[in-house]
Amino acid sequence: MEDMIFYDRLQFAFTITFHYIFPQLTMGLSLMIVYFKWKFLRTKIEKYNNAAKFFMKIFAINFTMGVVTGIPMEFQFGTNWAKFSELTGSIIGQTLAMEGMFSFFLESSFLALFIFGEKLMGQKLHFLTGFLVFLGSWASGWFILATNAWMQNPVGYEILENGKFVLNNFSELFTNPWLLPAFLHNQMGSVVTSAFVMASIGAFYILRNKHSEYGRLFLKTGVVFGLVSSVLVAFPTGDWNAKNVAKYQPGTFAAMEGIFETEEAGAEIVLIGQPNMVDKKLDNKIAVPNILSFLTYQEWDKQIPGMDQFEEDELPDNVPALYYAYHIMVGLGTIFIGVMALALFFLWRKRLYNMKPLLWTIMFLVPFPYIANITGWYTAELGRQPYLVYGLLRTSDGISPTVSSGNTLFTLLGFVGLYMLLGLLFLVLVGKTINQGPISQKH
């Protein structure tokens, strides 16, 4: 039983982590493509149109990857989490089905038209198709976040005698207080990723002295979008989310902040330290007193319950992983703001394009927004444990009753192998596209 749950969780974690490499780029990138296309309509400078088309190529590769790794996500609700699907399907099926209907059709239809239809449609319609792709990809994020928000903070339901969750108020699925902060935070996170990718490609072109005109455009746009989104992802959206966790999942809040013991007055904020689950304390701790209380409640002396206030089986089952995920996300987010602010400063002083160390830094930072986005999701998902539906349905009660751990391990290994291949091919293809540059006349 234990290893069944473990393999089911591991397979979901592995496949969703790999999957989320792609949508986080496409969501943010679609916004930036719409920006380039809009700039082109306003200025009629061909450079902006080429930039839009170049990034739509990168978008399309990521979209394909997102589709083929996304279908397994939807299937896995049924294959590995059958009991969960049976009990909650009439509720979360709503938002998942709406995602299919209102976002995937929109996204896939107009992506094809954007790529193949520029000459047929004229520029205004071409801009519109780009905008619809953006709309579709953000709608997808909205419906997935609505699904997740319901699992984090269930609303609009009743539970029947046989344990099934039944929807009794549809609109509450979308007015869930968890949803809007989580959606905005997530979308800003995806803009951070795409801005860093764009800036990184720009830095690469400048350093290599190839396609430098586009390099400067990409770097400039990436830095501006990157700084704005890095700030927004922390404040107000990140702050807003943390307050929600403190309010709706206080045990999770204590675990992710690493508060083992409740302090009399005013909780400290931990900057560094390793959770020691045997002695129930943080090793090698560096912390600043009272800041956490202030950040969360704007009161220096407000008491925040530590993990000692909760039953063991109500707390997340892997406190260190949750704590690290959260602190990696926050730490990286802080670094992003610093680097982008510095880059913007030098852009304003007109020195950025010659500052090699900063260009190298920006180029090599590209994996880190991905890590930040994914550890952000780990924070949400590990934080919800030991529940699938917070406070109501335990993870151990959601798995498929008939699928043995041997079968799940088999498919997990298969996914690992296949996704390695997929990842390799993806890198080759993206690398080739970047190397060709925005003005390749091959086609």
Binding site: T79, A82, S85, G89, G93, G100, M101, N407, T411
Partner: protein
Amino acid sequence: MEIFWYIAIAVVLTVFFILDGYDFGAGIIHLFFAKEEKDKEVITKSAGLFWDSNEVWLVAAGGMLFMAFPTFYASVFSGFYLPLIIVLWLIIFRAIGLEFRGQFKYQMWKDIWDASFGVSSLLLALFFGIALGNIVRGVNLGSVENGVSAHEGHYFFLPLWDSSFSPLTDHPGVIDWFTIIIGLISVVTLAIHGANWVILKTNSSINNKLKSVIFKLNIALAMLTVFSLIVWQMVNPDSLDNFIQKPYLMIFPVIYLTGLIGLFFIKKIKKDSHAFVLSTLLIVGGITSSLASLFPVILPSVNDTHEHLSIYNTAAPEYGLSVALSWGIIGFILIFIYMIVQKRLMGGKIDNMDYGH
């Protein structure tokens, strides 16, 4: 309300098989009949331009099934665990075949992805037919062994095969001689459909040859159909009851027969789109006839301990289904609009269209 969602999902699934069916079929044709590089390229393109928007229909069907019949979704997806995951892997292999083939000019590179595209298309067509065969035949709900259930009555787990390979045992596997026959019907049907698609959308040099291929495949399909009807009776003796009680359901087998008979005149049909309509009728008729013969059951039980899964004992409650009706109608109208826009802009032959990003 259950009936509305049952029909809606059946429609979405059928559209999926019509649309993705032609690119599965194109893969099969590509595997067996495309010899020259130019033909291989253009056939890959005729699938590669469209597969991702076609597979959205599968995602939509999955989502709607999850919402409207959560118990059925949970039961079937966990019960057919292995074949479903294998289908997912094949979908991935097919997609990378289509997307990566054109990226490098080396012959060996192209050969690898051609094989990946062709073989996965063939196996997917086979597996989808086998899936339909399993639904018609039924499964050992509750995993009953000597009158004792191992699980709740709506759960089961099927191995890929049972050593007897017979659909008539108490605990059949996914693959047995009956489901293989349905799988073959699916392969042949989609190969015909794919050949029609290739003829319709490309100027490949094998277009003329493909017409006689369709003719021969159609003979095979007619024989397989007759044979399957006989064994169908052995596997599911109640399968004709619905048609006898509600004769208007005969429209579905008639649709299938129209397609089958019409395709014998493939060489005389002047407009390629008409031939494509005929193979579409095959798919529509085949799926709807199978569903109609089971209705309202959606997964029969092969034991007497547990009742069949039907649309009534697996559906979500009324409130959710009726809310979903209101957004569902809006959604369908929007999808219809996108399809018209896309058809207008991407209709016609695709030989000279840019592809490969």
